[in-house]
Amino acid sequence: MVGAIVELATVPLVEFPFESNYVRSIIYVSLYVSLTAVVLSTLVSLPVAMLVGFAEFPGRRLAIALINTGMGLPSVVVGLAVLFLVSNQGPLGSFDLVFTKEAMIMSQFVLATPVITGVSLAAVTGVDDGVRDASYALGGTRLDVALVTITEARYGIATGVLAGLGRAISEVGSVLIVGGNIAGADGTAITRTLTTAIQLEARQGRFELALLLGGILLVLVLLVNAVVLRLGGGRV
């Protein structure tokens, strides 16, 4: 899917001030990192949202408060924290993750998870109790009830996933720190994303090029939105 979107997004760019390989590889890195982070975030967020939404346990209010606080985490702080984690001297130093896409996925995961969890939490707790009761009454297991709840809340959850994606793909602070904004000498992006490329152009005063890349980012988010909403049933 990533490949198809990259193709699609670079088609109209024939008369572009950048080499198409450069732009293509930047788009690829952006999508690869952010989509992977959001998929992983979603896998974690949904169970957490269900747990916090329906289980009774001490500290539940604190958990909700933490999730909501996490939505406001500054990306630079997350970037620094992940950097210390993956840096050569950090606890994960032996995995050689600093300045890699994997480290960028880690930091975007941290940024996206509270957003997806928070919005999904509101969505699943908003499902009518009658639906859950009926599911129980029909002999559903806990898993069945959870699946019914998620299905019922899918539009809200899709919104949460898109909000998480928006948070991930638009942030520049953390990927700049943990990824290093690296492009090969031949112009192939390694850890350069659209946002860090925009930052690089803006730093050099090339504001038109920066805006152009910003336009590509918007189109990309629009395309991903269309795909997710279609998957989610298109009713949002």
Binding site: N88, Q89, F99, G184, A185, Q204
Partner: protein, 287 residues
């Protein structure tokens, strides 16, 4: 000589290093001008190993080296490089190239510094007239130099007119341009952006016979493998060796932007130039 020395097939050299990647951390001035890409292409062609270039201000670049997250550091603030070496993080420093700093400002020159011979005088005039001065404010090599110059002028800048941008050279030049202010810029970045700016050079650097105080030497240092045993030290030395060789120096010499040379090679010398390997004021302690 074992590396790629006996191959006529031009296939990129020794298989032992072709799958390795060297992590270089370098300053925004070398990166944004495109020189680093040019050098890395030539290096990759010669050795087959890839180079991942991270661009940061000199302070941050050295910090990345201290953490062992980079193998080699290419920066331009001798005092900070010396500190890096003294602390044991850096070894095998070489002088690489130089250019110079220039003081740029608006055409109407409110501080009246145009053509002054002494940059300290110019800085004093800017402070006295309280003309806008945009500082990098980011611990980069240029910022370090700027602070040295204020110090040499006997001033501690501050006030409404002195603006710390906390940004890269390009952004600071744009900011100075838009607020009709002065700033200290490396000649390379200024040259590569000149067409979009209405700022002119008010005080020249040593390349155009300006004061020696505005010299801007670049050094390259390997990260000490005894401190961080995961660094690619052999590859780092191959890189330093290549950049300081005739081939690497030729790349620097012939690199131009809009027809102008931005950096001047400095490695090749028949003189020993011992000073390049050790902190500038280092002397053997004799009992």
């Amino acid at each position: 000589m074992g590396i790629a020395g006996c191959s006529d097939t031009d296939d990129g050299g020794d298989a032992e290093i072709t799958d390795q990647t060297l992590t270089l951390t370098t300053t925004t001035s070398t990166y944004d001008t495109g020189l680093v890409d040019e050098l890395n292409l030539a290096f990759e062609e010669r050795f087959g190993a890839g180079v991942a270039a991270v661009n940061e201000g000199t302070g941050a670049a050295l910090e990345t080296g201290r953490r062992g997250d980079a193998d080699v550091v290419l920066v331009h603030a001798r005092a900070l490089e010396d500190e890096f070496i003294r602390e044991g993080y850096g070894v095998n420093r070489r002088d690489l190239m130089y250019n110079d700093f220039v003081v740029v400002g608006p055409d109407d020159d409110p501080a009246g510094i145009d053509g002054l011979d002494e940059v300290t005088e110019a800085f004093r005039a800017i402070a006295e007239s309280e003309s806008v001065f945009v500082s990098r404010g980011d611990s980069s090599g240029t910022h370090t130099k700027e602070l040295e110059l204020w110090d040499a002028a006997g001033l501690d800048p501050g006030g409404e007119w002195y603006r710390e941008a906390g940004s890269g050279m390009g952004q600071v030049l744009v900011q100075a341009d838009q607020s009709s202010g002065y700033t200290l810029a490396d000649r390379a970045t200024y040259r590569s952006m000149r067409s979009q700016l209405s700022l002119g050079i008010r005080v020249e650097g040593p390349i155009e016979d300006g004061p020696e105080l505005l010299a801007n030497p670049y050094g390259i240092v390997a990260v000490n493998p005894a401190v961080h045993d995961t660094v690619e030290y052999d590859l780092a030395l191959a890189y330093i060796g290549f950049l300081t060789s005739r081939a690497g120096q030729d790349v620097i010499e012939s690199y131009t932007v809009e027809g102008e040379q931005l950096f001047f090679p400095r490695s090749l010398s028949a003189e020993p130039n011992f000073e390049q390997y050790v902190p500038e004021d280092w002397t053997r302690e004799v009992d």
